[in-house]
Every structure is written in C-alpha cells, then in structure tokens.
Symmetry: C2
Subunit: 216 residues, 2 copies
Amino acid sequence: MYTLAEENYLKAIYKLSMLAENVSTNQIAAELATKASSVTDMLRKLAEKLLINYTRYQGVSLTQSGEKVAINIIRRHRLWEYFLVEKLHFKWDEVHDMAEEMEHISSTELIDRLDEFMGFPTRDPHGDLIPDSNGNFKKNDLKPISAVDVNTSGVISGVRDHSTAFLQYLEKQCLTIGKKITVKEIISYDNTVVLQMENKDLQISREVANNLLIAL
Amino acid sequence: MYTLAEENYLKAIYKLSMLAENVSTNQIAAELATKASSVTDMLRKLAEKLLINYTRYQGVSLTQSGEKVAINIIRRHRLWEYFLVEKLHFKWDEVHDMAEEMEHISSTELIDRLDEFMGFPTRDPHGDLIPDSNGNFKKNDLKPISAVDVNTSGVISGVRDHSTAFLQYLEKQCLTIGKKITVKEIISYDNTVVLQMENKDLQISREVANNLLIAL
DNA sequence: TTAATTTTTTAGACTCGTCTAAAAATACAA
DNA sequence: TTGTATTTTTAGACGAGTCTAAAAAATTAA
Ligand SMILES: [Mn+2]
Ligand SMILES: [Mn+2]
Ligand SMILES: [Mn+2]
Ligand SMILES: [Mn+2]
C-alpha cells in the first residue's frame, strides 16, 4: 500500500505531532536522520496523496487518513515488540530495531491474528499503549517524573526515550515498569531528582526524570 | 546486509538450480516476473559481490557464499510459514505471500529464537525441509507421484507448486500432507493417474501428479 | 554451412529516494 | 524597520532497480 519511506515519514510526523500542532521540515529531518531537502520532496508526495496538510514554509500536520496509517504502523510496531519480549524472551532494550523492520509487514490479517495470539495486550514492553484493530487508542495518562511535585508517589509505567542506552541504564537502577517510587526532593541547583524506592533512595538527573513516566 | 532485490534474485537462482546446474537469464526473469534486461543488470552486481559465478551468455550458478545467503532466506521463509500455520492458525494456502515479506527481516538472533520458540521444526507446512541455523539441510528424498511405478504406495509429504489454487485443490480432494496413497493405474492416453486412498479412488491429472510429492 | 530464430546483453530512459549547493522565504534582533 | 541569521525550498545530480528498443551472440533449422 505505502512504501517503506512513506510509512517512516508518516510515523515520524505522527510522533512529532505529540509535541506541537504543526511539525517543521527540520524536525522531521532530525527525527529520520536525513536532510531537509529530502524531507521537502517527500512532503510534496505525501500531500499529493492527501496524507498530510502541507503549505510551503508552514510545516505539516497529518490528515485523518494519514493519521490512520500512522496509528496502524504504531500498532504493528508495538505488537511485534510485545511478541519479541513475551514470546521470544528478548529484553526490552533489544526489540526496537527489529520492530522497526517488522512494522512494515503489510498484512492486517496477520497483525490481528498476532494480537489475538498474544491475548490482546494493551501496552508494549515500554509501557506504550497499543491501538486496537480500529485504531482506537486511549491517550496516555502518564507524566514524566520531572513534572510532578515533591512527595508525589506513583508507579513507573513508561519511557519517552527508547534507546538501548537509556533502557539499559534503567534496568541497572531497577527503574523498570511496575516499580513504585516517590519523589522525595528536587535539588534546585541542577534539578536532580531524589527518588525513594522500595529498598533504597536514588538520584536521577533532570534528563532521566524527563524521559521516565509514572502513573499517579 | 543485502537488499530486498538481491535476496529475491539469490533465492530465485537457488530454486532454479535444483532443476539444472546452470540457470539462464530468461529463467530468472520468468521466476521473478521481470525482464531479461533487468536480470542481466542484477547479475553483474551479484557477480561483483562474489555471490554468483557469471560469464556473459553462459548462465549463472551460486557461489558458496551466495548459496549460504539463499539457504538463509529459505530458512527464514519456512520458519515464518510454520509460525503462521502452527501459531496463528492460517491455512497452508494462505501463508506464502506473508512469508515472502517476512523472510527479509534481517536479524538472525530473531530467527533463531523463533526456531527455538516453535521447537525446532524440520518441515514447513508444505513439507519442505527447514535448514538449521548453520544452513545444514538434508536433501529432499521425496518423489513426484508422476515418477513412481504402478502399485507403489507412499505418504503425501510435499508439493512443488505452492500456489493458492493448487493447495486449495489438494485440500478439497483430501490430498494433504500425511495421507497414505497407492498409485493404482496410469492411463496411457493422457497420463492421468488413478490413486487409491483410504476410503476412495481418485483420478488426478499428469500436472497434479507432477507437483505432488510422496515419501515411499 | 549458411540463414532464421531465440536468447542475452547493451543503450538509454524512467521513478524513487536521497544528496549538495544555492536561492528564497521567514524569523529574529539591533 | 532594516539587516542578519535561520529555515525551507529549488535546482541539479546520483544510485538502485526497473523498463523498452535495438544490437550482439548463441542456437536451431534449412
Ligand atoms: Mn520501539
Ligand atoms: Mn515500544
Ligand atoms: Mn512459501
Ligand atoms: Mn513452504
């Protein structure tokens, strides 16, 4: 239906749309590690196919049909990640790159059967919500630790950075999904956050606190 | 490692090598539904990369490293077909096209874990042998029904034609893998084969007999 | 063994997705 | 508000993979 490149652009635009209504050429170029000129070329094609709203120099947003395609790719990505962790016993920091390839397998029948085979999971190994086969999709209610007040408690439920380095760091600190934590203090000098965990206290940087999500 | 196109060419050459030592440009073009001129272009690239032995006008054969790549693709294809049938409950005539896409997922770690997850199956849903992770690969001992003598008995164990139409026909006639049959007669007029099955006799055409394999 | 036919290769062009370099539009600052 | 910096687009090129049309080589037939 859509080419590999088109799918990757739509997914990138969808992701960047979480942060701001309109997405800029440079943002997309950074996200896909390509050049702004390449992005402009692709934007014309996607606009032509009515997948994005695009006016020169004004940035882009997904149309309804573009969003539908993007959500579908995300569904596939997250279901494959779940499969890799739950069935093939990969670790949560190992699955992203494989899922980047697998998400482009086109059969919807396949992905629906996979969903059923795994018992219709609702979240992927990183805590991200998995859209259902109609593209329905609860909005995430999670907050970055950096956004909560001192003395707030919650359960670690997701991450914003999916890089191997970050996930391995979290694993090492036992900051994995399901762990209960309390924000004890925010050191004003550099915004280091002091967490109270079950059996220890732990300091994390502003950077880490920004990328680690909790359910209150 | 290799592009989609390169992998498909190597696989096609491997398949055609079963029939004859050297594979011709036109054979490859037919197999891949492309044009002879496109094939020639690709053959130069594959020869450049030492994946095939190629001299102009002489046809091609796989080098050892080309064969290794091809066998690996076949391993991936057959394991995914097994997964689709055994775990996701697709029918044997539904899985080929999906596997054509999935076979290009590159991670060997993934495919080895998938293999383990399924208990190291030795044959795919069509009776074809699945190479192990080292590319080791028993040669198929099966014979087309058209090649055995009258009064020979055997067990249906594989097919040569993987098309949906053929597989659905077999299903309908109960000519599925594991069924015991005896060749009762070959009608000389048009080489129709009369089979004795468990509870009935059945006539199949030369064409069908050619594409249906039995273990003696 | 020459001529006709078939197969294979070459020549040149096209699409897709990418790049660099330069021009145009926009945003920001003095 | 006028000039500078940044962002975005255009222009032109390239590699991968494909195509058509024509030339060259090999095969088959006369
Ligand atoms: Mn991921
Ligand atoms: Mn994920
Ligand atoms: Mn198949
Ligand atoms: Mn098969």
